[in-house]
């Protein structure tokens, strides 16, 4: 056992190291957040704080983090700070730092020696190997702090002395894009602070296994925040662009609600963008009502078609069919169907359904095509949900002398309902925003002057099928289709909006409709789950 190194269970005096690393983490987090503020343009990049421009301040933040890390690493190596490091930081860390240092070395060489591959390539390779060796050869406390500290000090120092400033732009040869310093610096600083936080997290827990776990915690946690940031950015972008269009002419009391039979008019909500037709002579504020109604009919029809079929097939596959080659083939087929591109579904609808059902674009063909797309997901998820119902329930029911079908209806399906609804929610999210097949089988006039009146169009007829519905057999508009045709149409027919403005408003309404459908789905899932557990 002589080669096993043992460390004390509790560090005797780790307060200094703990304080310093907590301080570094704090600075790193603040710098990280500040970079996002700049990236999202909530603050102006030319602003100054205490006489320093914010960009330089970010550089200073990096320098502080880097200096602190270097101090921590060296202090730990010289036993000023009580830690329990492993003998090496590991090859993975070494490779990552080697690559980072190679990039740094290459950039520095091109700045000093010019853009000649024969010159900067060897420099980059040498610096990279140096970074690798510095990370791998010394003890873990030095190997996982000094390379980071070096990068941060170089980068931060370069920014802090004004090497990159707000007016500076980088236009790489391989891209026509230009990266202004006001964006480049915050992006670099974001990555730099992530590195610093990882290293400081390791140091805070005293390196070793504990340190790796803490470092990973900070890294993974910040990735989550990064993802949320991207989502928030997307939503904020759509809302800021579309809100003004959506609220054009809207007010809480400007409208009039006629009370039937009494003849009184009450003040009512006015919301022209949501409640007006898109085209037509007397429409002042063109709205998206036809598209909203069209989307709702599409989703309703697709669900009505796909959910009973999907659940029925899932019940047959799980409860009746013996597991074997047949169920495997069905499984592969459904997975394949789910990953089939939507335009292929659209083409199928155009070539097969349209001539047989309506002879032209129509709501009902759109509903069927979207239903085909929804079907595999409903089948897959309800199959999973049914398989997850414990066999004990089926045994108990059978032992009471209850038949298989009754058991499925009263025990298995209710227990599988929440899982099935989850699948339907996911699928509805996909089909509500689907555009490609609608272009082929569904869409009609780009600026419809009335919404599809499906309910009012049912008529009895003397011949089979005895009920006809002209509206279902006619083309209509849906939100994604409306968005596409508005953006590609060139000129918007009304002067009040440009077609981009109208497009943003449509996008926001589409987002709200999808969120609303989600809410309905989540609500019904909660309802069924509560029935199972309360």
């Amino acid at each position: 056992m002589s080669n096993v190194e043992r460390n004390r269970l509790a560090g005797a005096d780790s307060t200094v190291g703990d304080l310093v690393s907590t301080g570094i983490l704090g600075v790193a987090v603040l710098t990280f957040l500040a970079s996002w503020v700049l990236l999202l343009q909530w603050a102006d990049e030319t602003a100054t704080v205490a006489g320093l421009s914010v960009l330089k301040l970010l550089g200073v933040g990096l320098v502080v983090v880097g200096g602190g890390l270097a101090g921590l690493g060296v202090g730990s190596r010289l036993d000023y700070v009580d830690t329990a490091p492993s003998s090496t930081a590991g090859v993975t860390v070494g490779v990552v730092f080697g690559l980072l240092w190679a990039i740094v070395g290459g950039l520095a060489a091109t700045l000093v020696l010019g853009n000649d591959a024969a010159l900067w390539l060897p420099v980059a390779a040498l610096v990279g190997i140096g970074g690798f060796l510095v990370s791998v050869v010394p003890r873990e406390d030095v190997g996982s702090t000094l390379p980071v500290a070096g990068i941060l000090l170089l980068l931060g120092g370069f920014v802090a002395v004004g090497g990159i400033n707000a007016g500076w732009t980088w236009s790489p040869a391989w891209s026509s894009a230009e990266f202004p310093g006001s964006e480049l610096v915050p992006i670099l600083v974001v990555f730099g602070t992530l590195l610093g936080a990882w290293s400081a997290g390791k140091a805070k827990a005293g390196f070793g296994a504990e340190g790796r776990q803490t470092g990973a915690y900070y890294l993974v946690g910040s990735v989550v925040f990064g993802m949320l940031g991207v989502l928030a950015l997307l939503l904020a972008f759509i809302v800021t662009n579309g809100l003004e269009t959506m609220l054009t002419g809207a007010s809480l009391t400007g409208g009039r609600l006629a009370v039937p039979f009494v003849g009184v008019q009450l003040p009512w909500i006015e919301f022209p963008f949501l409640l007006n037709q898109t085209g037509g002579l007397y429409v002042e504020v063109p709205g998206v009502l036809p598209a909203v109604v069209g989307t709702l009919w599409l989703v309703f029809g697709a669900i009505t078609f796909a959910v009973p079929l999907g659940i029925g097939a899932a019940v047959f596959l799980t409860e009746y069919a013996e597991r074997g080659r047949f169920t495997q083939v069905v499984e592969i087929a459904t997975n394949g169907l789910w990953s089939t591109p939507s335009i292929v579904f659209g083409l199928f609808g155009l070539a097969f359904l349209v001539p047989r059902i309506s002879g032209g674009n129509s709501i009902v063909v759109g509903q069927l095509v979207l239903g085909f797309m929804l079907l595999p997901l409903v089948l897959i998820t309800s199959r999973e949900a049914i398989l997850a119902v414990p066999d004990a329930h089926r045994d108990a029911s059978a032992a009471l002398g209850v038949t298989k079908w009754q058991t499925i209806r009263s025990v298995v399906l209710p227990a599988a309902m929440p899982g099935t609804i989850t699948g339907v929610i996911l699928g509805v999210g996909r089909i509500a925003g689907e555009t490609a097949p609608l272009l082929l089988v569904f869409g009609g006039a780009p600026y419809p002057s009335n919404f599809p009146n499906v309910l009012g169009s049912f008529q009895l007829s003397a011949q089979p099928p005895f009920v006809t519905n002209e509206a279902l057999l006619s083309p209509a508009s849906a939100l994604p289709y409306q968005l596409y045709s508005t953006i590609t149409a060139g000129v918007f027919p009304k002067e009040i909006f440009s077609n981009t403005e109208f497009g943003w408003g449509t996008a926001l309404v589409l987002l709200l409709v999808v969120v609303g459908l989600y809410a309905v789905g989540v609500g019904s899932r909660l309802y069924f789950r509560r029935k199972l557990h309360e």
Binding site: A399, L400, T403
Partner: protein, 298 residues
Amino acid sequence: MSKTDTRDGTEQELTTTGETSEEVREAWTEYEFAGDAKLAAEALDVYYGGEQALQSVSLEIPDESVTALIGPSGCGKSTFLRCLNRMNDRINSARVEGSVTLDGEEIYSDGVNLVELRKRVGMVFQEPNPFPKSIADNISYGPRKHGDLDTGLLARLLGRDDTEAERELVERALRRAALWEEVNDRLDDNALGLSGGQQQRLCIARCLAVDPDVILMDEPASALDPIATAKIEDLIEELAEEYAVVVVTHNMQQAARISDQTAVFLTGGQLVEYGETDQIFEHPQSQRVEDYITGKFG
């Protein structure tokens, strides 16, 4: 296989096939009791795929008493129990040969209605398995599905509402299973909120609600704590006043406490000895059974 008397305490010899040299004797499994047998198995063989799980088991089970089936793991006692209400039909690879009669009627003939059979031969499982429904719905589930209770909208419109009958049935079953006092104020709560012991008594009540003749129990207390086990045991003894109760258990003390007669299954799916419980535990006829009961084997 040579026949040796092992009752004088000599070591049992293992033949090359791994079987003990002792034979299963008719005399050890012939148990006489007054009245007709409620359930009778005759030369019952069960195979799972190619593997034989029961070897020619013949056993008569009297009414209004507790019959315990004991034996080591894998000896076929649960398999035998599941033959009595044809639950083995639900396992694809299982094949049953031989005969089982309920009140003299063959249950393995072609025309047997499984719904009727399982209504008369109820079953309680090892793990409590209430449905994720309310306590009252768990009890009334069986009768409703059998059409004995109808509380649907149509029935109410036609004036044949069984709501009152259902309430009475729920109360009767829960009282019978000694659970009424504990749950009568929360019949509409979900059954999954009950403790393990309460859930198991609920499962017994659910079985009683169908009004069976025979109750099969597959290690009904093995997943429960000692106090809940004691309650279940008391309940089993009470139920034996009205029903034929067949209990599989691997707990020999439990078998000794609650049963009137005991059948000992040993490895290979053989019924080795069947007789009055006192006699089995105090003077077993077979050496292998004595070894098993005294803990030398199994």
